[in-house]
Symmetry: D2
């Protein structure tokens, strides 16, 4: 069985997924595309030599009986409407972050999905498919480090542009830790506080950089997460979980070891694209396989999208107030109770 | 375009490739299988739910017009006949090591292939597709360490069975280094000498373990390669290239970092299967893509299979004599002159 | 010239320094000892075969014309009186932490010392003499990582006893970071806030463990310092300084590298005594050499002792209030302006 | 008790030891010096402000009743005569390598020492006092890696001068491994073979560089030792012992960890002087303490000096012949049977 994808949004990330499904993975094919820029949609079909219909809009694409899955890679503010429509049509959905730009929007998706009576939606949080994070999760779940007490993490980019502002440290950057960290420790967030250290000279007026977030969970785990988007030296993702019996940390990105010029060194990436390349592939292959073999996706759910939205809002508020802000989630519906995710 | 595979040999490695092509990679499908054990062939079709014809033998399979590629994963001594027949029929071939069990057998394949006027055959040396080796090769080719002068390598298994004998340290184990090392430095081998250190108590009567091979190339590079197949502690592949300007070494296998019980540690694999899992996927996807897009495979050639056979013979002789043994290759046909291999 | 030491306090740390000066270092000798437990003082003379007078109390010892330096290794609450008396007598002083148990006590020592018109006192903060910290300091001072923006540090003990209470995480443990971190970045502290993560099951009623301190400096550097004294896995000191151009981190404690039992590992200490053994030797040798060659000690001053006392008080208050507490120092007297410390 | 040293040879290494004994260590003092260049001897006394007699030659210095220990740091060819004379006078001797320039010369010292009926002589092989080697030795002696089967080592210098010739790779460089490796595994050498890899362009006519030595011991341990003295990138000492149960390796030289310019790096030394600085101090302090407390030195003996001379001769011969050369030692006198060396 081949899963038939309709793609809404043929920008950079949309095309990457199209290439992935068409040329690298097994079990999926692109049968339909659309974009607010119709020209982009048409070019995409040509470039990747797709046997796919170009639709004028998402509604038409969703209505196509040949489309099993709607892949949502449009502009963030457009996600909610497309996802809700697709879910109401009973289609599977893979939606890049954010699921919706507001917590309320996410809840509307959650409700639409629950009404369908089965999980249809997966949100594109690819870190859960990175082999390092998968190993971290296994170590924690196997109780090898005992109960987690703290997490110390860092998300560093070499440089960002002038249009990147203080709040985007949350909505564009921290958002990945927001999803990954609660998943790692099977816990929910309770509060967040932000401290702004001395600003690097490589930042600009509208961007406080770096930032240090202190997030607490219901069980009392304290997560200290640094976001530093003009760190200069490279793209670097760090995550260390401190437990009662020991500590486990993400591996450094795998690189040959050089002895040269009085240094023993390994390389650090300069671009985020390479860091999670494998994870993107595993993520989409797992999405295809889960639906094909088990009838529903097993990755991050609409509820995880909702958690991310609520937490993100609280983090932005904490940036503005300097105070500890509550992260208040509605009660988790039984529908979204965790099963063990199987990514390997 | 989908590349259609006929598989000769449905044992463990054959089934792994079938699973890979069917469920993990893009652009290939299995359309025919055969095995001297017909029952195994039939079971394979069922297990993997293949839409494939079961043939009584390799000749019939090769004759099938729907078969574009013959995937040879049968017993080693059977390889030569299948490969020659497939080549003479103008089919592409992916053949697991060894290409043939003798140097003469390899030359017969080389000659058959040259007669066809195009490259058809790729040998299953997957290390060239491992991201660590690919990085090593890039560093060397970019002249970052200057001219290579020495290589220090190790191939270690935790344990082997009673049926593993001294010569198999060459034919089953060192064979991978034999292919990878000359490729890494773009050079040909000249001689080999073997020293047997004190034998580990975990070995047995018919197996000298460990062994230390000193291989010299035409340009004078000296390669010191340890084979240690009852090393107890894990499966571990080491390779370090010492150049005029610096040294580059394979990364350790990527693993989370633990602090526990007074140790700072990362994991070492206990089974070779996991070490090159990704490399197998990249290898076969590259094979498919090269043929589809460029009309010929770009990986290890029949000539590389011939080099491996000649070198392997010399290494076994060196085990027996204790002396430095020459490695004498015929002149490389222009047909097999190196283009730059593109694996990434 | 040999520097003649009188030792006040012949407990464990006193005896270690006596052994060090007598048997490992150059340029010092013990000529007098005293202890509130006279028997201990007498035993010490015998054990180390000292040619030293046993005095009934610190006053008599200070009055001995043969005593050039008073080494204060008595009970913390007794330090202030001994140090003030020694300073007023014009003697050099090496005082183990704390210089005094209150900020006011430290200021009385500062004033006594200024009245003498020269630096006489060094406080026993040995981290400044650890080769790792010395390298960190050099990297920062050489501007190799640009302006420091954040520090992330951890101070972990495997286990502590029942008598170790929450405030001792500051006064016994964090106190070393309090001295080392402001020295590293040449800055003064402004505020501190404490968060208590979920408590490890290995702690007890009167001890919150771990604790996470967020300390800000005048220039805006944010220091996130974890104290975890029942971390189980070992004694582990971590310090990472994040600057505008890069990051520098303490080396792990040097240990041979093992491959065994499917792990690649180095050892972690289980006892703090070994971690700073070399630093203690370098510290005391530097103290002797500075006085001998330059007429005054060049290590941590009375003012550093005062900073530690004020900061320690604020940290304990922050533990109690949960709020951000100010760290308010008096203005630094010109007398204590920094010269570059030379430890190597 | 203070051990009184007379120093024969006031060149660079002599002065370093004088500085060490005078200003850094405990329990020794310099009371006499001599040098074939009398001016150098006199300057040394001034520079280090020694209270020491300047003697016209070694004989006069040895005859001084105030001299307990003769420290031999003269030109290599002069060592034998001085050591023999000192031993015959019943003096302790610390002699820098080589003990004598010939095996016969070493044997004459051995015989002179045995005639005195007690160990008097220590040879300056400082690696045995390096904390990394000490840890290696402990791991091996504790049987943590089982029986040693192989050693893989490397001795690399960034650069050497035009006067450094092929044989000096043995006599100046490999000589340290020659002493350290048999000590590490408590075994004696049996044979050596040398291979010359392609020569680095940074070498010159009279120097084959790098070189690869394969040394076998009586129990069958095979040691593969690389000497590479124009390696460009730094001073680097590697040693890895492969045992039946696991592998242990020297730590890298301890250095802070940097993240900068897309590299994660630690420093490599560029000068041998810093690598074993601590080991030199520990070595001489141990020499002083052993004599003072136990009446004889406990470090490398005259017999170790003899082993080094015989092995060195065989290695140079192997450089010339390209063949496997025997290393033939006389039977070890009971006088030199190993006790456990205690360096920590």
């Amino acid at each position: 069985m081949t899963l038939r994808f309709g793609v809404v949004g043929t920008g950079a990330i949309g095309r990457e997924h199209i290439d992935r499904i068409t040329n690298k993975l097994s079990g999926g094919k692109i049968v339909a595309v659309t974009d607010v820029n119709q020209e982009s949609a048409k070019q995409t079909v040509e470039i990747y030599q797709l046997d796919a219909v170009v639709y004028p809009d998402d509604k038409a694409l969703i209505a196509d009986e040949n489309v099993d899955v709607v892949l949502v890679t449009s502009w963030g503010p457009a996600h909610e409407a497309t996802v809700v429509a697709a879910v109401e049509a009973g289609k599977y959905v893979f939606c890049e972050k954010p699921l919706a730009t507001t917590a309320e929007g996410c809840m509307r998706i959650v409700e639409a999905e629950m009404k369908q009576g089965k999980k249809l939606v997966q949100v594109g949080f690819m870190r859960r498919y990175d082999s390092g994070y998968v190993q971290l999760k296994q170590v924690i779940d196997n109780n090898e480090i005992g109960a987690p007490l703290m997490i110390r993490a860092a998300h560093r980019n070499p440089i960002v542009g002038e249009n990147y502002t203080t709040d985007m440290a949350v909505t564009d950057t921290l958002i990945h830790e927001i999803d990954a960290l609660h998943w790692l420790v099977n816990d929910d967030y309770k509060s967040v506080q932000v401290v702004f250290p001395r600003k690097t000279k490589y930042s600009h007026d509208k961007l406080q950089d770096p930032q240090l977030f202190t997030i607490e969970t219901n069980s009392g785990i304290v997560m200290s997460v640094e976001v530093f988007v003009n760190c200069k030296y490279g793209y670097d993702i760090q995550c260390e979980v401190i437990g009662e019996e020991g500590i486990v940390k993400l591996p450094e990105f795998s690189s040959v070891v050089m002895r040269k010029d009085e240094k023993l060194s390994t390389g650090i990436l300069n671009d985020w694209k390479y860091r999670f390349m494998d994870a993107y592939n595993v993520e989409i292959q797992d999405f295809i396989d889960s639906i094909t073999k088990k009838g529903e996706p097993e990755g991050p759910t609409s509820w995880d999208g909702y958690i991310a939205a609520v937490t993100s809002d609280a983090c932005v508020k904490a940036q503005q107030t300097g105070e500890k802000e509550a992260i208040t989630l509605q009660e988790r519906p039984a529908f979204y109770n965790e099963k063990e995710l199987q990514t390997v």
